[in-house]
């Protein structure tokens, strides 16, 4: 009985601890990514962005995604990769209008992905 209660407490602590860490970690990573994307958005909107700016965002994302792979379905990470690559090409070709729409999608993704970790009815059901 004592052993059973200890295992219950341990597994509850593992779940609760991991859940709190995961929720904070994912939210922090995506907040930072969102901030970086906002800067890029402003530059593209002002038509002053360079390909290096997008590469810097990509580098930032690659550093984050190594750890995010632990928590997020890989398909969602791949989606961010693809949109970011497209944005890089469009900025290089100075197609500002198309580039801005790609960055809009990326900003939306960086808001939506952490939302899927929140305890809401739509996530549970």
């Amino acid at each position: 009985m004592v052993k059973t209660i200890i295992t219950i407490i341990c597994s509850a602590l593992i779940i609760a601890g991991s859940a709190i860490y995961e929720s904070n970690f994912v939210a922090r990573q995506f907040n930072e990514f969102h901030a970086v994307l906002s800067i890029l958005y402003d530059k593209v909107d002002g038509e002053v962005a360079t390909q290096d700016d997008v590469y810097a965002v990509q580098k930032n994302w690659i550093e984050k995604k190594h750890v995010l792979h632990i928590f997020i379905p890989h398909s969602e990470i791949k989606e961010v990769d693809l949109w970011l690559s497209e944005a890089a090409t469009l900025v290089r070709d100075k197609e500002w209008h198309d580039a801005i729409s790609k960055i809009e999608v990326l900003k939306e993704l960086s808001e939506q992905i952490p939302m899927s970790f929140k305890i809401t009815l739509e996530n549970i059901l």
Partner: protein, 227 residues
């Protein structure tokens, strides 16, 4: 992660309720919630193992969550008899000295056929071979032998099950429905009042009429009919 745990919790509880409602037929040598853990855990382990797009932690958390629920139910079960009854059910006495208890069988979604099958697996072929038969909460049959009975040399066939004639078995013994009805009339009963009637190759009848103790009778089989 908490979302996964809550989803695991909901599915687990739903399965516990459904398994309890299904009765003892669906369970084999395990308590209902142990059976559910066994059912789900294999799938939980396989999905993240085979699908690389799913983070391993999704499977791990669900498995730890199941373990937690399993341990919680074990503690509840040990700490209170009421919980034990709710979670795992209670043993059902399906044969008592009066014969087969149809009410208990029905409550567990079992038929006389299932009972006879479970008895055969224990080495008992006739319903009167047992004084008591108990379906444990894990679905296993426990038996207390009836020492007064003579073990027959032929396998009894189920002729009437809960007021319904088993026409296949009747055909197998080469008897007509009419002769059976006439036989029951001589015993002062009708088919609809019979809970169980079995007949073996020596003409030995086990007859359980509603609200009465079972009787062992003799039926004259047609010449040459023997099994």
């Amino acid at each position: 992660m908490l979302v996964i745990f809550l989803r695991t919790f909901i599915i687990f509880l739903t399965l516990v309720v459904v398994m309890r409602l299904m009765g003892k037929r669906q369970i084999g040598e395990m308590q209902p919630f142990e059976f559910i853990v066994t059912l789900i855990i294999a799938d939980l382990a396989c999905i993240p193992m085979a699908d690389v797009s799913i983070p391993l932690i999704y499977g791990l958390i669900a498995i730890i969550g199941l373990f937690l629920l399993h341990q919680l139910l074990s503690v509840f079960e040990m700490s209170s008899n009421i919980f034990k009854r709710i979670i795992s059910g209670k043993p059902s006495i399906v044969i008592n000295p009066d014969g087969v208890n149809m009410k208990e069988l029905k409550q567990n979604n079992l038929g006389v056929g299932d009972l006879i099958e479970a008895m055969r697996a224990q080495g008992y072929f006739s319903l009167d071979d047992l004084r008591y038969a108990i379906f444990e909460s894990n679905g296993k049959l426990s038996a207390l032998e009836n020492e007064q009975t003579n073990k027959g040399t032929s396998v009894p066939l189920l002729i009437i099950d809960n007021g319904k004639i088993n026409s296949n078995n009747l055909k197998a013994i080469k008897e007509e429905e009419l002769s059976l009805v006439n036989y029951l009339n001589t015993q002062g009963s009708k088919v609809k009042n019979i809970e169980v009637m079995t007949l073996d190759g020596n003409g030995r009848v086990y007859l359980k009429i509603k609200n009465q103790k079972y009787k062992i009778l003799q039926f004259n089989l047609q010449e040459g009919v023997k099994w």
